[in-house]
Symmetry: C2
Subunit: 126 residues, 2 copies
């Protein structure tokens, strides 16, 4: 029994076929534009913390009401950052009664990880 891997949802494959990897070959313009949006979404401390707070709930969702008070920012600002993360495909949400719950979309994170992971293989000295 070695590694078993089960991925649901659109993303086809991991580090190898689908995406070249940052180090394996120069990125073409389209892929660069696409991936840069993801990096940019994570390129803000508030969003990175939000993403981490959401993704570290392994089982599932976080209520916005648990996220907002963790920051010294207004509620609309947090809402705005959550929207950006959602537009980037990193998280999704659903309203349940009065509250809105967010959860991570691991496929997108995996895509980034795979893209960067190839970096390690090329430079043998890590």
């Amino acid at each position: 029994m070695s590694k078993q891997e089960l991925v649901v949802l659109g993303q086809s494959d991991e580090s190898g076929a689908c995406c070249p990897g940052l180090v394996t070959a120069p990125l073409d313009e389209d892929r660069a534009t696409d991936l840069a949006k993801l990096f940019k979404a994570l390129g803000d401390p508030v969003r990175l913390r939000l993403m981490s707070m959401i993704a570290s709930r392994s089982g599932g969702e976080v209520c916005v009401c648990d996220l907002t008070p963790a920051f010294d920012l207004s509620q609309p600002t947090i809402s705005h950052h959550l929207k950006l993360l959602r537009q980037a495909g990193l998280i999704d949400c659903e309203r349940r009664g009065t509250w809105v719950y967010y959860w991570a979309l691991p496929a997108t994170l995996d895509r980034l990880a795979a893209f960067l992971k190839a970096s390690q293989t090329a430079e043998a000295t890590a």
Copy 2:
């Protein structure tokens, strides 16, 4: 309710991540600020392509004179992006005669990769 993805990965984690990882625990503010700078540096299509062009030269360096003509941008703009990548610790450079050569700093890429890689391990319970 919406479908949650289920990712099972039997990898034996030898990445030796020094840092928590995005999914393992909520990021504290300092680490978030620090890592966000890296993501932001890669969050521009031009810089991402530059980074890829530089890093994909596994053995070594790229002359700026090879980078600039690959873009439809002015030379100062490319120079500016290279500076940002350098300030982020992703690349370094050296002048050799008339030309300036850039190379990737894999340790920084590895840090990002390790940070994201942990994302894949945590989704186990659904």
